[in-house]
Symmetry: C2
Subunit: 261 residues, 2 copies
Amino acid sequence: MAKTGDRARPAAEPALSALDFALDRGSPVPLYHQLAQQLEAAIQRGVLAPGNLLGNEVDLSVRLGLSRPTVRQAIQSLVDKGLLVRRRGVGTQVVHSRVRRPLELSSLYDDLEAAGQGPATLVVRHETVPASPGTAAALGLAEGEEVVLLERLRSTHGQPVALLCNYLPPGLLELDDDRLEATGLYRMMRSAGITLHSARQTVGARSATAQEAARLGEREGAALLTMERTAYDDTGRPVEFGTHIYRASRYSFDFQLLVRP
Amino acid sequence: MAKTGDRARPAAEPALSALDFALDRGSPVPLYHQLAQQLEAAIQRGVLAPGNLLGNEVDLSVRLGLSRPTVRQAIQSLVDKGLLVRRRGVGTQVVHSRVRRPLELSSLYDDLEAAGQGPATLVVRHETVPASPGTAAALGLAEGEEVVLLERLRSTHGQPVALLCNYLPPGLLELDDDRLEATGLYRMMRSAGITLHSARQTVGARSATAQEAARLGEREGAALLTMERTAYDDTGRPVEFGTHIYRASRYSFDFQLLVRP
DNA sequence: GAGTGGTCTAGACCACCTG
DNA sequence: AGGTGGTCTAGACCACTCC
């Protein structure tokens, strides 16, 4: 009951009944996911405005013909995404968001492509070398063991942006230079059945050496953004170690953090 | 045998029965959280070694006298932390070694987390100024509206590390310089009842101006790491806009990413 | 006191992986 | 075929917030 009360309150009323959620029980897509998607769409479209209360979970589950845990699971996934906030004793409301994508294990290639910058990649080196101490430690190999070294120069609009140096465990992946230049390394890994799970990154800065400056089209001593990353697949096996440098004048890392209680 | 094979290994036996989980139903701490904590402790202590299967959820719930959803909730929280991996039809296993230390991604707090190393803060400026266009946009205010400007120099071991420049909405917070120097801005916000929810960050690099170099003890033109951040509370209201610069020779951002399916 | 989310139970069926 | 996690149900009681 109590949902017909049409009083104008400071925190706007649901108006959620206007939304018709279409749940398909025959679909392979889980019900909670269908609901989450449609809620998210409603938020993005502005049907659910920031600050709006969502209406209580019990009513919602009854109206949708779902159990409360299922509805909760849908809501929780949006809370995890930072779109909703729950307050005990109050309700669930849409966050005032300037939200952008939460930092993903970003491949530079994907970032640039998403920005519509038509990335171009040039494979500079691609050979097998003995692992340096640092590389061996990162990849969990013995020092001097062979690793695949991959060095690429990435540009947009004809201007170099980054120099990417990657080390991969031997035999991990079939690397074809042409495909590497047409797509990104992570994309190739994914299509080779390697599912990335996590990565440890260190982002810093330093001045360009003469050689780096020449390759990137900067002046010697120019500020460079550096990133070192070790990526792991879902078994915890290291699959990539990379040291990347970016022209600070043309690139920066942009991401959103969510604070988890 | 060498583990150069592509397969995830057949995986060791649980040995989980050796663990005695002590669950206190009288505690205000939720059961799933108690279980998660004890599982995590077992993993950190190495009782549950990387690659170990956890034993199936049904058995586990029976042995613990919990329902399966409760056990699942505990496991899920560790999966979210990246400590465990689930595979349908296979089981739940501990992620392999290296990935473990989450090094909490909350870059948000690392000003404070570093507190273990006795950081010192000096409030350089603390006054009310009209908002610049960029500041006004970030904080959702009108240009020229008054904001609190806070400039701090942070050092460790007697060496400057960062120059922190923050802008806060007027009247948000009572700022006492002594407390600001004794603790961090975020800690003061929290104790004032402001719960941080998310932040948007941009990390880049640039060369130090003469003035910046002098303040930070670097040479002019030295590489600096820059961060620009807008932080929001749980209603989506901007509560802080900051532009920070760090000595790249003494500071870098270090974090772990998890890939969410 | 009324309403909200937070937690928990005891089942059930299904999809997937491995042998 | 047997075991695993993935999903879902229909209830229950509690803790918290607000009026």
